[in-house]
């Protein structure tokens, strides 16, 4: 075997960033040697070999398997539960329900009242009714199906557009309005009066389901008074705090582990009722319990991107100046308070310079599964409306769509108190460089020229966006542990959702310590053994964790310099860390190898603790994007083919070019789903039930639905104010403009403005048939 113990330090001569004096934070990097490169993931081996243990792979000795019986009605009162037949079935070891005294728990506080773990009134199809633990999953399901429940089926409302009409059933006694938000700046009437053109249009986006490949679930095990949970989660500390709160346990007695997880997209930012149920059944049976949802269940009860009904009224001058924007949205978070319209109006408020803006958001209850954050909550929906309206305005005033956007680019966040400037914005460059790299003008012209001849029509469209968050923030604590041979261990609480977090952090340490990324071993996502992190989500993980990791690595260097100063009997400020050794700047004969440091030998390792420092005051940090695409529409069949995409993304410094590109193509794929394939279908009239609760009937984009030709163009503004790495978030902005860009391209191809998602052949062919005859 090769001797890898000598292969720790980076190539000799690679510059290592200066070490700041003790107690000082490092200045932002300028050039980097490791960070920014296209490097394979540090956990790639585990993910492709099968050795990565996902929570659903955890198999404990003597483990039981759980199954949950869920309410089949959108609204029903449970009169009686009879589990006597189920209890007699082979292998059944535990059944719990609202009849179980230990299960009488508050699951969540909600403005409409406390939600119990087992609610006597089920307000959405899929709320929990009872649960079983048995020797095999097959036996658990046999038993769940054998539980007899007497329901009083109640009237329901499953369409948010009907929820406020008189006489409609109420989801909660106080009525169906969850929340109304208003925002206003300037004088909207004056804005419209000053416009040369005023247009108004309504838009709708359908409800989408996250459906990560690994279903939601966990394995729960008690050791006496202490509970350990392996959960498929975006944030182990968020699971820990909720479980401890519900079960009334001290945090230290709830350990949550989530080393790997098979996708979340927002739906795994929090635990589920299943987590508590697994823990309860494990406690009551005295055996570990694994409880993962079936695919069908993941469609009903673990979140969604809620539907939105939006109207945009916009005023523009002939020169492209926006004078007024009025935006309204009606949406729903489902049966409980879940931010049904949250942030849908943000792009209308903040993306373009506009002095007069008014928005109103009405969030209503319906008898359907509660929403959860879904990759850029509200934003792809808001972009669907605003970015189509921008194209409509551009056409009305005879201006190129890119030019109209360039005309209205802000340098400050107008919707925030005090109009703080952005720490960086390269939205302008995203539009300009993106259009140039895509060949925007040429492609638009050629698509048009091609039109007359065939039933296949080509169109080119684009859209822009920004993300409400994406700058990261405290808290985060990480520990970097340096071994005497130069290799290091990173201990951080954050989860790597597959976005490459671990790899980026290894690169940050490599950059600071002058070692190879593969010489960094990482412990993550375990409340028992790793440091604190907020859940991974909202495009904040890298800008939150990377500065903390950098600070920890810097502290390791500061400590090494102090040790060397003691050994060499010089002032630490005179010394420079060079990787393998530390030397005096003035006298190169004064040097000592790290492994020879007596102080290091005395303590065995050097530990650096890093915290995420505060964000800059009176400034705000956000990623931006502009995406361009070319599509083909078959005017006879309504089929839409997406030919190519280009994404120009400003997420600050690129940390790893390989995983960066991957995350952007993933965002585009997801946006294609919103634009063209995905739609929750509820039988709103008769039963209120979801009719397409599987991947056959609810269509995710497949390998055949995405273009082969996707270009990712990072636009990297130098951002020295955001944080000490210059990185901004990427996950969200990569999917915000996608669907709107496709809709604009479809308009360009067909002349049809498709205002409702998804643009599937059924809709397109209907719209094509409805067109007035030409000539």
């Amino acid at each position: 075997m090769a001797d890898e113990s000598k292969d720790i330090y980076y190539v000799e001569g690679t510059p290592i960033p200066e070490t700041p004096l003790p107690g000082k934070e490092p200045p932002p990097w300028r050039e980097t040697s490791v960070v920014g490169k296209a490097l394979p993931r540090v956990d790639a081996y585990e993910r492709v070999s099968g050795s990565a243990a996902y929570p659903s792979d955890v198999h404990l000795p003597n483990m039981l398997h759980g199954a949950i019986l869920r309410c089949p009605h959108p609204h029903a009162r449970i009169r009686r539960i009879d589990a006597s037949a189920a209890a007699k079935l082979p292998g059944v070891r535990m059944i719990i329900s609202g009849n179980t005294p230990e299960a009488d728990l508050i699951w969540k506080k909600d403005p409409v009242g406390d939600m119990r773990l087992f609610e006597p009134i089920c307000r959405f199809e899929g709320d929990v009714v009872a649960a079983v633990a048995a020797e095999t999953p097959y036996q658990a399901w046999d038993a769940a199906h054998a539980i007899s429940v007497d329901y009083e089926v109640l009237p329901f409302v499953a369409d948010e557009r009907q929820a406020l009409k008189p006489g409609v059933p109420v989801v909660h006694p106080k009525g169906n309005v969850s929340k109304t938000d208003r925002y206003e700046r300037g004088d909207i009437a004056q804005g419209f009066a000053a416009a040369d053109v005023v247009l108004e249009e309504s838009y709708r986006t359908e409800c989408e389901l996250h459906t990560p490949l690994e279903p939601h679930g966990c394995v729960a095990n008690w050791d006496g008074r202490s509970l350990t949970i392996w959960e498929s989660s975006q944030g182990v500390y968020a699971v820990q705090s909720r479980v401890a709160e519900v079960l009334k346990l001290p945090l230290a007695r709830v350990r949550v582990i989530g080393h790997y997880m098979g996708g979340g997209f927002g739906s795994k930012l929090e635990p589920g009722k299943y987590t508590i149920i697994a823990a309860l059944m494990a406690k009551l049976s005295g055996r570990p319990v694994r409880l993962f949802l079936t695919r069908e269940e993941t469609y009903l009860c673990v979140g969604n991107r809620p539907p939105t009904n939006m109207t945009v009224k916009a005023g523009v001058k002939r020169d492209g100046t926006l004078t007024a924007l009025e935006f309204s949205v009606l949406g729903t978070g489902g049966a409980y308070t879940a931010g049904g319209t949250s942030l849908a109006d943000w792009l209308a408020r903040d993306l373009y310079t506009c002095p007069n803006v008014r928005t109103i958001s009405t969030d209503v209850f319906i008898n359907a599964g509660p929403a959860r954050a879904f990759r850029a909550p509200g934003h792809p929906q808001g972009a669907w409306a605003l970015e189509q309206m921008m194209d409509t305005l551009a056409e009305a005033i005879g201006m190129d769509p890119v030019q109209l956007r360039l005309k209205n680019i802000p340098s400050v966040s107008q919707a925030r108190e005090g109009n703080p400037p952005y720490t960086s914005t390269a939205f302008k460059e995203c539009l300009e460089l993106g259009a140039a790299a895509f060949g925007w003008e040429k492609a638009r012209g050629e698509a048009r020229a091609q039109r007359a001849s065939r039933h296949i029509r080509r169109g080119v469209g684009m859209a822009g966006g920004l993300w409400f968050a994406g700058g990261g923030r405290p808290p985060s604590t990480v520990v970097v542990k340096l071994f005497p041979d130069g290799s290091a261990n990173l201990n951080m609480g954050a989860s790597d959702l597959g976005t490459g977090t671990k790899t980026v952090m290894a690169m940050v340490i490599a950059e600071e310590l002058g070692i190879k990324p593969e010489a960094v071993q990482i412990e993550c996502a375990d409340t028992g053994t790793t440091q604190y992190a907020t859940p991974s989500g909202g495009s904040k993980t890298v800008p939150t964790e990377a500065p903390a990791v950098r600070n920890a690595a810097v502290q390791v260097k500061q400590k090494l310099l102090e040790m060397a100063a003691e050994a060499l009997k010089v002032d630490a400020a005179e010394l420079v860390y060079r990787g393998r050794d530390i030397a005096s700047r003035q006298d190169s004969s004064k040097r000592i190898a790290v492994k020879d440091l007596e102080a290091l030998k005395r303590q065995g390792i050097v530990v650096g603790i890093g915290y995420r420092g505060p964000n800059p005051k009176n400034m705000t940090t956000h990623p931006f994007a502009a995406q361009f695409c070319e599509v083909e529409v078959n005017m006879l069949t309504g089929e839409l083919k997406i030919l190519r995409f280009l994404a120009a993304q400003d997420s600050g410094r690129v940390m790893n070019r390989l995983t960066y590109g991957n995350q952007v193509i993933g965002g585009i794929t997801m946006g294609i789903g919103l634009a063209a394939t995905e739609q929750r279908i509820l039988d709103t009239g008769r039963t209120g039930k979801m009719v397409n609760r599987n991947w056959h009937d609810y269509k995710l984009p497949t390998a055949l639905d995405v273009p082969v030709d996707v270009t990712v163009l990072p636009v990297e503004p130098v951002d020295t104010a955001a944080n000490n790495t210059g990185a901004k978030g990427l996950g969200e902005p990569a999917t915000i403009p996608t669907a709107a860009a496709i809709a604009n391209a479809v308009y360009h191809a067909t002349g049809l403005r498709i205002t409702c998602t998804p643009i599937h052949p059924q809709q397109l062919v209907q719209r094509l048939a409805d067109r007035p005859k030409e000539g």
Binding site: A44, Y260, R295, G498, G500, A703
Partner: protein
Amino acid sequence: MSANPTNGPGGITRRNFLTTVGAGAIGAAVSENALAAGKEVAPPQVTPAGRSVEVALRVNGRTHVVQAETRWTLLHVLREVIGLTGAKPGCERGECGACTVLIDGIPRYACLTLAVEVQGHDVTTLEGLMDGEKLGTVQAAFVEADAFQCGYCTPGQVMAVEGLLRANPNPSVEEIRRGVSGNLCRCGAYQHIFKAAHRAAELKAGK
């Protein structure tokens, strides 16, 4: 998928599916046909779904003799009985492909395959592509092309590409897309998967 699912070379045929897992409805249909032909035949033997039988499975070149209920899927036996967790449950209804394994070299959904069906056939899982601790060619190509994000669909994607390349060592991009079109990736890393499949073909050809 590149192969006909009901009659692949050496795969599971509809005929041996029926003889292995007799079910009431199918049994009745068979009897009616026999009656129509004017012959008397003994009713087919039906094993109740919950009954355990001994099943010999050849997985990654080794034979495992396990007690399995006749209704247990190959996926369940691989993961919960034999302890090979590479193949993942994503839907357990033949929609996502995360459980894809090779049966006699052809990609198949382990969640739609009963364990008793695969007696006498060769099953290859993700783990079977490894050479000790060394990654197989397709796996190495997936690392190089960064052809995954969360990694949960990856075992299935790798097996789909492995099966594709065994049948077609030099696939076009369109053939690659079709070859993995039965495998969903919610992270949406498809373009990198296409690159990995292309790279794996090169590596297998010694390029």
